[in-house]
């Protein structure tokens, strides 16, 4: 069996508040294998966003360990985390988060700028990814010229451009109508079929149903972990 993409052991995060330490996450254990398609669910305040931020190397845990592609990242400094985000992870956000002043091609190529790639290889890779999500004809357009669903596909292209080990999608369909949501979920399904590991955060059960495995958070703890289609108690 191959090395897990993600292995978290006793992962916890507490925030200092006026009323003392507030534990947003209380010791979570989870292992994700390459090629998995997993949905993280839970109501607001359940700790799923905190968990997502930790998985995305945007934040550091206050306890426990997090092995990303075999490397313990729990105590890395900010610059090392930035490099990990750049090379190992791909982000897809609810609000698409494209840079409005740049063409779609430049948006998709942006992670490669921070990876230090030269202009020609940036261009080639970005065009390849736009082709993959079917938006090649808009390569030179600005984000404001295309629809929300198309913007999200561009964001997915951007997440893929640096060939990450996994894609983290945070409510990727939250701002889309149901028809467009279906399109995006179909794209995720295709990507997963190609072997790309996907972690999806959502609170909508029908979106989560597209994933092969579902975990549920409640009050900072992981309370449920089952494969889609299996009934749990």
């Amino acid at each position: 069996m191959s090395e897990p993409v993600i292995r978290v052991v006793g992962l916890g995060k507490s925030y200092a508040t006026a009323a003392g330490l507030f534990p947003a996450l209380r010791g979570v254990d989870l292992t994700i294998q390459p090629g998995e398609y997993i949905a993280i669910m839970g109501p607001s305040g359940s700790g799923k966003s905190t968990f997502m931020n930790l998985l995305g190397c945007l934040d550091t845990p206050t306890m426990g360990d997090y092995f990303l592609a075999g490397e313990n990242v729990a105590h890395m400094d900010k610059d090392a985390l930035a490099q990990l985000r750049n090379r190992t992870l791909g982000f897809v956000f609810q609000g698409f988060n494209l840079l409005p002043r740049m063409t779609l091609q430049d948006n998709v190529a942006l992670p490669l700028v921070y990876a230090g790639k030269d202009k020609e290889s940036r261009r080639a890779a970005a065009r390849l990814m736009l082709e993959k999500v079917g938006l090649m004809q808009y390569a030179e357009s600005l984000p404001s010229r295309i629809s929300g669903g198309q913007q999200q596909r561009v964001a997915i292209a951007r997440a893929l451009v640096n060939q990450p080990r996994l894609i983290l999608a945070d409510e990727p369909t939250g701002n889309l109508d149901s028809h467009t949501s279906e399109e995006i979920m179909r794209l995720f399904g295709e990507l997963n079929a190609e072997g790309i590991t996907i972690v999806l955060v959502t609170h909508e059960p029908d979106i989560a149903a597209h994933a092969k495995r579902q975990v549920r958070f409640l009050d900072g703890e992981l309370v449920d972990d089952h494969l889609t289609g299996q009934q749990t108690c």
């Binding site: 931020n53 945007l58 610059d79 930035a82 982000f91 921070y114 951007r158």
Partner: protein, 406 residues
């Protein structure tokens, strides 16, 4: 990567065109003011140096002392206490470049049907070098002319124009005090002196001839005035002291007896004037550079606004892998770009205005490469200095907070 970032900085500037231009305006005015002020200040310095150099530099004069008859004191140069021997002895001293005993006065000149009154200076050849006279036509007289008291004369431009008109004066004979003098050379023009006298209204003749034929003298060999030029400005004070000591010894003055001559420093006035213009131009530059600082604060202000506005963009960039130093570089580049663009425009504007001032008022302006260089270096420094704080603020944002920012 830097190239990509420069491109992005350019885009960011273009996205808020009016704001970028207004921000730049601060730098444009600052740099423009510095360039104009330096040009005017250096122009004034140049003008003063020009007039100093026509007078001759590092000069002091020795005047013979006064005498008292029945309680009436004669004033300086009254007593024949200085002589040609003193001048020769002074020229042997160290740190002395030129020594010229002189005797001058105003006399009527006659040539043909024309006559004209001018200052006649009887002196020796070193006088020409000490007072920075040049010969534009003909040649100077030499030591042999002084020894044999020949009747030759060098005339200034004003004398040449008034007495000879369109004729070439060289080789012509004019009369001073009924004595015929052959004009051997015409002096280069020097224009007005500090006190407004026309320096070109001068005739220079050998000292011996002047004393025997023009002015007369109580004792042969005595002179009223000796002009001394020190070898350099640094040696000036020491030279004056040495000359005083030498003359006291030669004149057998005992300890406690007053000097029987006077010493006057001619360069001091000119140098204090030069010092004044120098101080003035430094002051002008300093005032102008305050506007550069104000321009820099304008840049900082706008960059802070820009960082706040683009918090979400910063969050996105961090999420996809920008390190702190990447964000820092990006915002610093934008600040520097605004600063440099403003500097470039300000430089051109300043040069234009300086040339305009020169064209319309005739005021001397000096545009030096070093002034432009200073303005550029200052602009870059201002860009980095005032861009640093906002850029650092951007780089230290928390990516999660930044992404959540609406």
């Amino acid at each position: 990567m830097l190239k990509a970032m420069l491109g992005e900085a350019w885009l960011a500037m273009g996205a808020n065109r009016l704001r970028s231009i207004l921000t730049m305006l601060g730098m444009v005015i600052g740099v423009g003011a510095v360039v104009i002020m330096l040009a005017i200040g250096q122009g004034a310095q140049y003008a003063v140096q020009q007039s100093i150099s026509t007078m001759g530099s590092n000069l002091f004069i020795l005047l013979s002392g006064s005498f008292t008859t029945a309680g009436v004191r004669s004033g300086s140069s009254g007593a024949p206490t200085l002589n040609v021997g003193d001048a020769e002895a002074i020229s042997e001293l160290e740190g002395i470049a030129n020594v010229a005993p002189t005797h001058q006065g105003s006399r009527q000149l006659v040539y043909g049907a024309q006559n004209w009154s001018a200052t006649v200076v009887g002196t020796t050849p070193p006088y020409l070098e000490a007072r920075a006279w040049t010969i534009v036509n003909g040649a100077a007289f030499g030591d042999s002319d002084v020894r044999s008291a020949t009747r030759v004369a060098l005339i200034g431009k004003t004398v040449a124009e008034n007495l000879f008109g369109d004729d070439d004066p060289v080789g012509k004979t004019m009369r001073i005090q009924q004595n015929p003098f052959t004009v051997v050379g015409v002096l280069g023009s020097k224009g007005q002196s500090f006190d407004g006298r026309d320096q070109d209204d001068t005739v220079i003749i050998p000292l011996s001839t002047a004393q025997r034929k023009v002015f007369g003298t109580p004792f042969l060999g005595s002179v009223r005035m000796i002009m001394v030029q020190a070898a350099s400005a640094e040696q000036m004070a020491q030279a004056e002291k040495n000359v005083e000591a030498l003359l006291r010894q030669r004149h057998r003055l005992r300890e406690g007896m007053p000097n029987d001559f006077f010493s006057r420093n001619l360069s001091a006035v000119a140098e204090s004037e030069a010092e004044t213009t120098r101080t003035m131009s430094i002051l002008l530059g300093a005032i102008a550079s305050i506007s550069l600082i104000v321009g820099g604060i304008g840049i900082m202000n706008i960059m802070l606004v820009s960082v706040t506005e683009r918090t979400r963009e910063i969050g996105i960039r961090m999420a996809i892998g920008a390190r702190q130093k990447d964000i820092l570089t990006q915002f610093l580049l934008e600040a520097i770009m605004i600063s440099f663009a403003g500097c470039l425009i300000g430089l051109l504007l300043g040069l234009g205005v300086a040339l305009g001032i020169n064209f319309f008022t005739g005021m001397v302006v000096v545009i030096s490469g070093s002034a432009a260089l200073i303005a550029f270096v200052v602009a870059a420094t201002v860009g980095i200095f005032f861009g640093w704080y906002p850029a650092r603020k951007a780089a230290q944002l928390d990516p999660i907070e930044a992404l959540r920012y609406q």
